[in-house]
Symmetry: C2
Subunit: 340 residues, 2 copies
């Protein structure tokens, strides 16, 4: 369904005013601040129509209007202007991507922090899933007399480490095991690597049983840990928003994030989406976040992909959020493709 030109302009004005102030907006303000060339009364009529058709809501009988989920949806689909990042913001992002980062995980953590800071909402990154990340190599390094450090490297540069206990295994033997694994597992996707490793090493039972068992256990752990794939920023920014003055609401959001899988499911449920994707209010099916919005996009990392995005109130500066997410999509894709 579409709207005639003036209705669209009124809707846009209401949404933008509300995003800015957070207060229900009345016809007077619209007439004064947004030069539509008509009187408050006319705007009132338009707003009444917009309310009938479900684009606006009224908190109570006689107060200004507030955009409904549908109103926001129409706004982001049809009315929203494209925003660009400020020079400062671009510079900050550039500098993150220029900085040499220790490892992929720290890098993603920093990215999340930066997304949070520039958006003033809550940034997050969902790392690539284990079905499409592949094994590159494994190394067993002597770490002390009775411990070895297992280092796993994936094709996109993710590194996982793990301390393994052992008894009477020489450095040469460690290296031999590493090489068997590395040679035979390269290119195998991470979700199948544990099984493969097990069948590869089964023969070596007696002597290396202890090591084998730990290696396999570790690889299983790496595969399963969906939980660790989601990196979320600090919720401080949300505390500044009037919609989260009510602690209960904030609690809902935080526990949704901490409850494993809620966000992950939402992010991966729908495949054919625009980029960045905007999901408004109840469009997020999960109960606890049905009154907040997400803007997120996909970056590719090798054969696979991850998501980066922003969680914020429905009254979010969508335009800016889109600008930020788009920028990060590109930069991250670049970062990971360079890494190969």
């Amino acid at each position: 369904m579409t709207l005639d030109d003036r209705k669209a302009r009124v809707l846009r004005a209401v949404v933008e005013e509300y995003i800015e102030t957070g207060l229900p907006v009345g016809s007077r303000i619209i007439a004064k601040r947004y030069r539509l060339g008509v009187s408050p009364a006319t705007i009132r009529n338009e707003m009444a129509d917009l309310e009938d058709t479900g684009y606006l809501d009224k908190p109570h009988t006689s107060s200004g209007r507030v955009p409904s989920d549908r109103g926001y949806r129409f706004y982001v689909d049809e009315l929203m202007p494209a925003k660009r990042l400020t020079a400062d913001e671009s510079r900050a992002i550039e500098s993150l991507f220029r900085t040499k980062m220790r490892d992929v995980v720290s890098f993603l953590r920093e990215a999340v922090r930066l997304v949070s800071d520039t958006s003033n909402y809550l940034g997050f990154v969902l790392g690539p899933d284990s079905e499409s990340v592949t094994f590159r190599s494994i190394h067993l390094l002597p770490a002390s007399s009775d411990k070895a450090l297992l280092v796993l490297i994936t094709d996109i540069g993710f590194v996982e480490t793990c301390l393994i206990e052992m008894r009477d295994v020489s450095n040469e033997e460690l290296k031999a095991i590493s090489e068997i694994l590395s040679r035979n597992l390269t290119g195998v996707t991470m979700d199948r690597v544990a099984d493969r490793a097990y069948s590869l090493l089964r023969e070596e039972t007696s002597r290396y049983a202890m090591i084998v068992e730990q290696v396999v256990e570790f690889l299983q752990g790496v595969t399963m840990s969906d939980s660790e794939r989601l990196y979320v920023g600090s919720p401080v920014n949300l505390l500044n928003l009037p919609e989260f003055r009510d602690v209960e609401r904030l609690k809902g959001v935080i526990s949704a994030i901490e409850t494993n899988g809620i966000i992950q499911t939402l992010l991966t449920k729908y495949q054919d989406e625009t980029n960045p994707t905007i999901r408004i209010g109840a469009e997020n099916e999960a109960e606890s976040i049905r009154d907040i919005s997400m803007v997120y996009g996909t970056f590719s990392a090798g054969r696979t992909e991850g998501k980066i995005g922003i969680l914020g109130p429905k009254r979010m500066d969508y335009s800016k959020a889109v600008a930020i997410v788009s920028t990060f999509e590109d930069k991250l894709t670049g970062y990971f493709s360079k890494g190969r």
Copy 2:
């Protein structure tokens, strides 16, 4: 200064009642719930005395009493009963320490989470500092055609990794560099390792300049990153407490934590302390956390030590907090000594 027996009993009753309910406590309740064998009127007199001597406060002229910082202090020093962990809690902790953990950092993260969960406050761990952790070995592993993975292992099993760019360096050369470093740096404390590495590798200029530079830069980074030494749990638990219904307060605490160094400084400022240490309200000098309390203790890790503790409201269940912290001190010390 000491208190006569009955005053002490009244103080104890007030503190415990207040810890439980969070409401100012009146003479009536004390007389009814705590069998002191005297009437409310007598208790009123005692409470008036306790107020005069600074152990109790009155929020306003005519309401129950609330413990002052001094009251809490006397309580924890003299009156507090020793609490033991419940069977469930002990079991949860045992099981964490029995689980094979990937690496030290993940392990500490899990520990923090568990401390938060069992205390229902906010757990944290401060890792060992770089002045007393020593270098064990370094490994440069081929990670792709133009990248190597640098793996650093310290004496207490901390592992840091970093991707390094390179051009035309063979695996053998990588190994040679690793061995030079490992052989010469073992036992050097981490705060001096970067300098040493630099002077060691200075000669190899032309060919390996690029690698050397990155290695040194990384080592410097590892040393400096005090920030990364503090692991803090999720603040959700705090949201459930009535004292944090006011969002401003919560914001203060969170930004204190995120502002680098505030907590660290406080934890390392005083040396000769009881274990666990309890720091109540204004005893934490930092402005932003002067109305919350900390209970923390020290665990040793090799030659050095770290801190583990709990952040909560002044109205904290100190007895339980102490039990939790003590348990973790022991377990962590055990964990790290076994690791050597």
